[in-house]
């Protein structure tokens, strides 16, 4: 018994867990600063969510991996059902993205990303090498990916839907899709881009246009990017100090508790602070990747691959957005941004990875 526990402790991906805890801590402090040095309204709630998230992580990590395998389609089915329901029971201003669950607001598109990755991992890991080479076997993939993508897109939430799509495609890519399909896919996407553009809402077009030329519209959408760049830039090497970021504290920086929290950290702790955060993320990504590489079964490898890529996407899109490299698409910074659904989703994803790490001995055949 004691030996079992010690073995368990030994196999735990400590780097990942410690890094995640560090991020939660940094996030809590950032939220404390975002409310001008107060635990309410954000920091204290974030801690409660982190505690719930940690419990979810443990539950997911401890369950036998085949259960995960078996539950995966159900998960996707439920996710799709909820997404279908959003337009009818959801709330939100301009775009309907939320479902009210008692005191909580729940954003179904977040767990949907995870559900898509797990379902795709299961489906693709079950394909024989011949099937991998066959176009027909990708028809279910298109459905598994296309339906949630479409549902999130029409909410409308372009950013999340694109991230969902890219996360799913990464899994498909990692699963070994033949190169000729990849080339065809890229060409098809390029051809459909103009059509997609015409379908965009005006605010989405505006965001993209603003991204291309933020200074043109300083008090409009470009305001956010401009202020974010000012905040980051003025932070310099070491930052203005905790609670001393004038851009954040005087509300020049919008959404500083959610999408622009990285900017706030940058203003108050400078280049060094931002680099530390990115290094912790790097540690998590390395840990997830190593887990994937060590894993013997394809399901686990694809899961790790999908989750690491999804995490990376979050980070890249968020940081790219606040530094003005990418348009404002509304992507949270994992484990730091204020937002319950995103945080719980990340904890679930990390739980999946820890699960894989704890069960590396399994083979593909063990799932059937």
């Amino acid at each position: 018994m004691i030996l079992g526990i010690l073995q368990l402790l030994y196999r735990l991906p400590w780097l990942l867990l410690v890094s995640a805890a560090a991020l939660v801590l940094i996030g809590t402090l950032a939220l404390y600063s975002a409310s001008e040095g107060a635990w309410s309204p954000w920091a204290e709630r974030q801690m409660v969510r982190a505690a719930i998230g940690a419990m979810l992580l443990v539950v997911v990590a401890m369950m036998p991996t085949p259960w995960l395998h078996r539950l995966s389609y159900w998960g996707l089915a439920i996710a799709i059902l909820v997404l279908v329901a959003v337009p009818f029971i959801g709330t939100g201003t301009g775009a309907t993205r939320w479902i009210e669950l008692g005191p909580f607001n729940f954003q179904p598109s977040e767990p949907a990303k995870l559900a898509v990755i797990i379902a795709l991992a299961r489906y693709l890991s079950g394909q024989t090498p011949e099937q991998v080479q066959s176009l027909v076997s990708y028809l279910p993939v298109i459905l598994m990916l296309g339906i949630p993508f479409g549902l999130v897109l029409i909410q409308p939430d372009l950013g999340t839907s694109l991230m969902l799509l890219m996360g799913g495609l990464a899994v498909v890519f990692a699963a070994g899709v033949p190169r000729r399909f990849l080339v065809t896919g890229v060409l098809a996407a390029a051809a459909s881009a103009p059509i997609l553009w015409s379908q965009l809402y005006s605010y989405q077009k505006a965001r993209i246009m603003t991204f291309l030329n933020p200074e043109a519209d300083v008090l409009g959408v470009g305001y956010q990017i401009t202020q974010s760049k000012i905040a980051l830039g003025s932070g310099g090497l070491f930052g203005k100090g905790f609670l001393q970021g004038s851009q954040s504290q005087l509300n020049y920086l919008p959404e500083k508790q959610t999408d622009f929290v990285f900017t706030m950290i940058g203003e108050e702790f400078g280049f060094v602070g931002n680099l530390v955060v990115l290094l912790i993320y790097f540690a998590i990504l390395v840990s997830v990747a190593l887990t994937g590489l060590r894993c013997q079964h394809r399901f686990g490898r694809l899961l790790c691959m999908g989750n690491s890529f999804m995490l990376f996407l979050y980070i890249f899109v968020n940081v790219g957005m606040v530094t003005g490299l990418l348009p404002v698409v509304g992507a949270p910074l994992p484990l730091i941004s204020y937002g319950g659904t995103a945080m719980l989703t990340v904890f679930l994803a990390l739980g999946v990875v820890v699960n894989i790490a704890l069960h590396t001995k399994l083979q593909d055949s063990d799932f059937y």
């Binding site: 090498p129 070994g176 000012i230 830039g233 003025s234 932070g235």
Partner: protein, 651 residues
């Protein structure tokens, strides 16, 4: 077997693809770090500046202007606190719409809005523009309600220049007005101090650098909505230094009223006859429309405005001016903010030029008050002695001209002392001729005539004390002896200011030092002043004193009715404004009172007192007031009496 191989191959492909994705992530991650380096290190300087611009609004803090006080600390010019609404152009996207919104709450005329918009384009965007100063309580409360949503608005305590004594001391204090384009050209820093008031005349102008003080500079930390959060004082506003004047407001007030009243009776302005007269008498109307309610009735029963003229009272030892009056005057408060066109027109079109400070800028022939100069010059030159007698037969023929004495029947045989006592013109025609214009000029200059004084007030006139060179230079013609003759009685080319006449009298009274006038008290100038010697023989001075005393005390003295208890020594002067033609003289000269005002003689009087132990010198001029003895001397008497009595009280 084949299956295993394929499995193995697929696994290799997957690993390779995972590594590819990882490498891709690594590249993109490096891109992020590079971007952060670019923003936070390479371009940090620029962003820091932008952040500061966001965080702080620069704001100038007005320094209260130094006060102007009289010798007893009574306020002549001060500041009243007012609230003003300012806008920060850089925080407002549509200035016109903003102003329009505000104009619904406070009265803003279209021309005001235009002026504000112009100002916005002229000055840097980060500087505030005053929208309206002197806000009423009602406007303040209205604006306060709206202020949370009125971006870029701020309320500032500001100062308005006030002159509690109003027009009574206007010519001394002068006035201030807002910075204009010409000021900015001369002093570019004023561009950033748009609310500054600049002294334009009087002490306000003279002591401008001391009075102005130093503007403070503060940074106001503002949040994204433009709401102030914190104020950082970078530079404290330094109030301007107070100016203590030698003036005595009580005496000034007495002298003003006394001069204005002249010889006439005050009539209540509400009386029907006054209202009636106002309709037809343009001069009276111009005067009453300036807000003055003193209307006089002259000896012929005509309604006339108060007398115009000047009074200067000087301490004969220190040169301090106790009184400097010029009437009519104006309200300097009108200039402190934007002067309305109507007020400006009223002042400009007033027939008696209220903006002219007659005490220093009014040029008058000194008339008989110049006789002390001629007498002193003649005695010094030795062309006469104190005993020299000359026979006055009422006229003196010189060249082809007849020079008349004011006393047509002639004074008969008069000596030097009697010549001054009775102001015999013939005596002075002759001694002037003997002395020569250059020596008269020399004496006049020593006694303080013909040059601007040390007061340093803007627009002070130097007057004219002619000599041969002057005539040649200015007129291109040689001096003629006939001109010396008229100069002997202070007419012709000779022009002086009331200040100079007071100075002349003070120097005669002092006798030893060539004192110079000042408007400030020793509190402001370090040591008590030491003056150069006067360089006129004590014998001559003594003789002048004695003769001037005779004017007041002699049985035939021209001012014998107007002496005071302590004894005064003086000299009357009556200045002809229009030449009297031969025909007029034959028909008999028309009385002053029957001539049009503009053609009446100027009445002058200079004096010092007490005779035994002189303290003050005074000069009075009543423009077109008639004779010096009847119009000016009584005024000087009453003022001198007041001066000495109030000294007695305070001593």
């Amino acid at each position: 077997m084949k299956k295993r191989k394929e499995q193995k191959e697929l696994s290799t492909v997957m690993t390779r693809r995972m590594l590819m994705l990882g490498a891709g992530q690594g590249v993109l991650g490096a891109l992020l770090v590079g971007r952060l380096y670019q923003l936070q290190i390479a371009q940090s300087e620029g962003y820091r500046r932008l952040s500061d611009n966001n965080q702080f609004d620069r704001r100038l803090v007005q320094a209260p202007r130094g006060r102007i006080l009289d010798r007893k600390g009574r306020l002549l010019a001060g500041n009243s606190e007012v609230f003003e609404l300012r806008m920060l152009p850089s925080r407002i996207s549509n200035h016109q719409a903003w102003l329009k919104r505000v104009s619904r709450l406070i009265t803003l005329k279209p021309e005001d809005i235009e002026a504000i918009l112009e100002k916005i384009t002229e000055q840097p965007k980060f500087l505030e523009v005053t929208v309206k100063s002197n806000l009423t309580q009602r406007e303040l409360s209205r604006l306060a309600v709206l202020s949370p949503v009125l971006e870029g608005a701020s309320f500032q305590k500001s100062y308005k220049r006030i002159y509690p004594q109003g027009w009574m001391t206007a010519h001394v204090t002068g006035y201030v007005s807002p910075v204009n384009k010409r000021d900015i050209d001369g002093e570019p820093d004023l561009r950033y101090l748009p609310e500054t008031r600049i002294g334009r005349t009087g002490i306000e102008h003279n002591m401008e650098p001391d009075l102005r003080g130093l503007f403070g500079f503060e940074r106001v930390e503002v949040n994204a909505r433009g709401k102030p959060v914190r104020v950082l004082r970078d530079q404290q506003a330094n109030p301007g230094a107070d100016a203590y004047l030698s003036l005595d407001v009580e005496a000034q007030s007495f002298a003003t009223e006394r001069l204005r009243r002249g010889r006439w009776q005050a009539v209540p302005v509400q009386m029907p006859e006054v209202q009636e007269a106002l309709l037809e008498n343009e001069e009276l109307r111009a005067h009453v429309s300036m807000g003055d309610d003193l209307v006089l009735k002259d000896e012929k029963g005509r309604l006339v405005p108060p007398e115009s003229g000047a009074v200067v009272v000087m301490d004969i030892y220190t040169g301090e001016l106790k009184v400097m009056v010029s009437t009519p005057s104006f309200d300097p408060n009108l200039f402190s903010n934007r002067l309305s066109i109507r007020d400006w027109q009223r002042m400009n079109e007033h027939p008696r030029t209220p903006l002219l400070n007659r005490a220093i800028s009014g040029l008058y022939p000194p008339g008989s008050t110049f006789k002390m100069v001629v007498l002193a010059a003649a005695l010094e030159a030795g062309v006469i002695t104190q005993k020299t007698r000359i026979n006055c037969v009422g006229a003196f023929e010189f060249g082809d001209r007849n020079f008349h004495c004011w006393f047509e029947r002639g004074h008969g045989l008069v000596d030097a002392e009697q010549s001054l006592e009775r102001s015999c013109d013939i005596y002075y025609y002759q001694i002037a001729l003997k002395t020569g214009i250059n020596r008269i000029h020399d004496m006049a200059r020593r006694l303080g005539l013909g040059d601007v004084s040390t007061l340093g007030l803007i627009s002070e006139k130097e007057g004219i004390i002619p000599n041969r060179d002057w005539k040649l230079e200015k007129r291109g013609v040689v001096w003629t002896p006939g001109e010396t003759v008229v100069a002997g009685i202070g007419q012709g080319f000779v022009l002086t200011t009331p200040l100079q006449l007071a100075l002349m009298t003070a120097r005669i009274a002092n006798g030893r030092s060539a004192i110079t006038p000042t408007l400030t008290t020793p509190q402001m100038t370090e040591a008590s002043p030491s003056f150069p010697p006067l360089d006129v023989s004590p014998d001559i001075i003594r003789f002048l004193h004695k003769s001037m005393r005779k004017v007041m005390a002699g049985g035939l003295g021209t001012a014998r009715k107007h002496d005071i208890n302590q004894g005064m020594a003086g000299k009357t002067g009556t200045v002809q404004v229009k030449r009297i033609t031969k025909e007029q003289r034959e028909k008999g000269i028309i009385d002053n009172i029957d001539r049009p005002w503009k053609e009446r003689d100027h009445a002058l009087f200079v004096a010092f007192a007490p005779y035994k132990n002189p303290r003050y010198a005074i000069s009075v001029i009543v423009e077109h007031g008639g004779s010096g003895s009847s119009a000016a001397a009584p005024i000087a008497r009453d003022i001198m009496d007041f001066m000495l009595k109030s000294d007695g009280v305070s001593a």
